[in-house]
């Protein structure tokens, strides 16, 4: 794993939610939402994270930011050359580190406080972190931030309900930018938006990345969007990372059967091809009661005996050092690339 310029390194991160039952709320089991996940993000890149709903994408994002306390594992943040484990930091120190990592949420309707004006929403992180001398200075900063995300600063005294979905998402982005972060975790930032607005927000995010040198962890379920914005992509299934690759390789030469299945089910919208999309059978198994061995074996068309008993490890795929796959039959499979 290349360590130069790494901004965030996650090692063996686990987040288990207890399942409680009965009168005494005894713990009868765990939902392993994030199960032994390791990855790294280099400075200035966009790392995409895809998977079906319920596979633990959002939980992973929140656990990285310590919004959820991890069950085990390290989240090592590179703070100007000094490595700090977020999972071990608490209180004041964690709050200081959080300046550098911000989040953009999926739903632009519920992620903004409807009783605060836009000025107050964007200024809140500044107030919390004690940035800016006084109210006036912070207002100036808010104006600048709003202009930066393509809103007019005269709109800052309005309330969220006066804005459209795309504009609200811009407010959410302005709030995330307020503290000058290095890393932004984008949790499905464009899923709730119309196509034309989605394109505007995607362009805004990539412009900001260029101008401010931001690093993104970009969570999405739309494979087209993820491909467009990401340098590298992680594919997640039932709390596990099954494949990591740079985005070209992932679409041209998928190594994991699940990645192949995802690519096959993309609606390419080609009215000239009469072939139906090849749909992956079944649905994601119950995470409280996951299958043994490889978690994908129940739906995998290439399943063999070993898959049912032994869990595959995430192993580098030959020549390119930064691409990984977790599959027993990775060498024998000849998977189809994405067809346009």
């Amino acid at each position: 794993m290349s360590k130069e310029e790494t901004i965030l390194e996650v090692n063996n991160l686990k987040k288990y939610f207890p399942i409680r039952k009965g009168f005494f709320k005894r713990v009868v089991g765990h939902v392993k939402a994030v199960d032994d996940v390791s990855f790294f993000i280099n400075k200035g890149e966009t790392l995409g994270l895809v998977g079906e709903s319920g596979c633990g994408k959002s939980t992973l994002g929140r656990t990285v930011l310590q919004l959820l306390e991890p069950t085990a594992g390290d989240v090592i943040y590179n703070d100007q050359g000094i490595k700090k484990d977020l999972a071990e930091t608490k209180g004041q120190e964690l709050r200081k580190l959080r300046r550098n990592i911000q989040m953009i949420f999926q739903d632009p309707f519920s992620s903004l406080d409807s009783r605060l004006s836009v000025r107050d929403i964007v200024a809140e992180p500044l107030t919390v972190q004690g940035i800016g001398k006084d109210r006036e200075e912070r207002t100036e900063m808010v104006k600048e931030l709003l202009e930066q995300v393509g809103l007019n600063s005269y709109q800052m005294n309005r309330y969220p309900h006066e804005f459209s979905g795309g504009q609200r998402q811009r407010i959410g982005i302005a709030r995330a930018l307020a503290l000058n972060p290095e890393l932004i975790i984008c949790d499905e930032p464009v899923s709730a938006l119309d196509v034309s607005v989605q394109a505007q927000v995607l362009n805004l995010l990539s412009d900001l990345q260029k101008d401010l040198g931001l690093t993104y962890l970009f969570i999405a379920h739309d494979l087209g969007v993820v491909e467009y914005i990401s340098d590298r992509i992680m594919v997640m299934y039932l709390g596990k990372i099954v494949e990591v690759a740079d985005s070209d390789t992932l679409y041209q030469n998928p190594q994991h059967p699940y990645t192949e299945a995802l690519l096959k089910s993309i609606a390419i919208g080609d009215p000239f091809s009469n072939e139906p999309r090849e749909a992956l059978e079944g649905t994601v198994p119950d995470p409280a009661n996951p299958p043994s061995g490889c978690k994908f074996h129940t739906r995998c068309p290439y399943c063999s005996d070993i898959c049912k008993t032994k869990e595959p490890e995430l192993i580098p795929t030959g020549e390119d050092y930064d691409n990984y796959v977790a599959c027993h039959s990775r060498d024998s499979l000849n998977l189809e690339s994405f067809k346009k």
Binding site: E52, S53, S164, G165, G166, Q167, D194, V195, S196, V197, Q198, A199, Q200, L202, N203, S206, H221, D222, L223, G224, V225, E227, Y228, I229, Y251, A261, L262, K264, S265, I266, A267, I268, G269, D270, P271, F272, P276, R277, E278, A279, L280, E281, T283, V284, F338, K340
Partner: protein, 336 residues
């Protein structure tokens, strides 16, 4: 169009809403027809009147604020006789006979459109009981099981007694489809049926709908904002903007040769896999329906806007079998 093959023919439909601030023209002069066994796709951004068009067809426009202000919705029965839906009251006997038996609807949100306190089976049985002449309990149950089996739910004999929360998102949508198809409708209205689902499940549902359509020789009106899905399923596409149809053509020419600047904008906004070309979004956002611009509604956002667009709303022009509502296609423009 010969009426023998036509299932529904809508002419100049207008669905308005009374609000405190004035009349909102949610659907404003929409015309289309669907032939037997064909699929019409309706695309557009939120608030362009897609869903209200479908609600008008079912005569289910939210009352008392909403009402059908004008136009005709002619439904053609199997035997060739026809009925204008707008002339009937929403809860008249005639309307109830049409819903379910003749046309049925599936909704976007499979969780909120199923009743959580009844089993899935009971809800399917309710639909069959209301619209068909099955009386015997066992017979009804058998029919519900058959429907669940038809939409690809495994172990339907057990699943029929389960509640919606025990179903996954994809299965709920399958159950909705089973319910809608339980009375063999001739027209299925699908309002964003796959929007809330994962890609893998979306592919399953789209394939299922295609198979069932062939099986039952059904017409489908498919509403979505996802152009990718439209390309896969529709024979003909209608693009809507601010309650009006801006372009209508067969799916192939819509994708290969989009004519209206709005359609082009929608197609260019989609990330294409394998190309890192910067997206070209449509600038601005959909105008407020209460304060529409004077001329063409798309004028403010249109990259090809001309002088005439500012003042005059364009009529519909016929270009190579397509209908386009844009001044770019008037005679003088084409000549130059």
């Amino acid at each position: 169009m010969s009426s023998s093959n036509c299932v529904i023919d809508v002419k100049n439909l207008q669905t308005f809403f009374n609000t405190e601030n004035g009349v909102v023209k949610a659907v404003n002069g929409v015309s289309f027809s669907i032939e037997k066994g064909k699929t019409l796709g309706i695309v557009g951004e939120s608030g362009c009147g897609k869903s209200m068009t479908s609600m008008s067809l079912m005569n289910l426009v939210p009352r008392p604020k909403g009402f059908i202000a004008g136009g005709e919705i002619n439904y053609f029965y199997e035997d060739g006789s026809q009925i204008d839906i707008t002339e009937y009251d929403h809860d008249s006997e005639k309307m109830r006979k049409i819903r379910g038996n003749e046309m049925a609807m599936i909704f976007q949100e499979p969780m909120t459109s199923l009743n959580p306190v009844y089993t899935v089976g009971d809800q399917i049985i309710e639909a069959i009981k209301l619209h068909q002449n099955y009386k015997n309990k066992d017979e009804l149950r058998e029919r519900a099981v058959k429907m669940l089996k038809k939409v690809g739910i495994s172990a339907p004999e057990n699943r029929v007694d389960e509640y919606p929360h025990e179903f996954s998102g994809g299965m709920r949508q399958r159950a909705m489809i089973a319910m809608a198809l339980s009375c063999n409708p001739r027209l299925l209205i699908a309002d964003e049926p796959t929007t809330a689902l994962d890609v893998t499940v979306e592919a399953q549902i789209i394939n299922l709908m295609g198979e069932l359509q062939k099986d039952m020789d059904m017409s489908i009106m498919f509403i979505t904002h996802d152009l990718g899905v439209i390309g896969d399923i529709a024979d003909e596409v209608m693009v809507m903007y601010t309650g009006k149809v801006v372009e209508k053509s067969d799916t192939k020419s819509l994708f290969s040769n989009p004519k209206h600047p709005y359609t082009r904008g929608l197609l260019n906004s989609r990330p294409v896999i394998g190309s890192k070309k910067r997206l070209e979004p449509i600038e601005g956002s959909v105008p407020d329906l209460l304060h529409l611009p004077e001329g063409c509604d798309f004028y403010d956002r249109c990259p090809k806007a001309m002088e005439i667009c500012k003042n005059e709303d364009p009529p519909v022009f016929e270009v190579e079998d397509c209908k386009v509502k844009c001044w770019l296609y008037r005679e003088e423009e084409k000549a130059s």
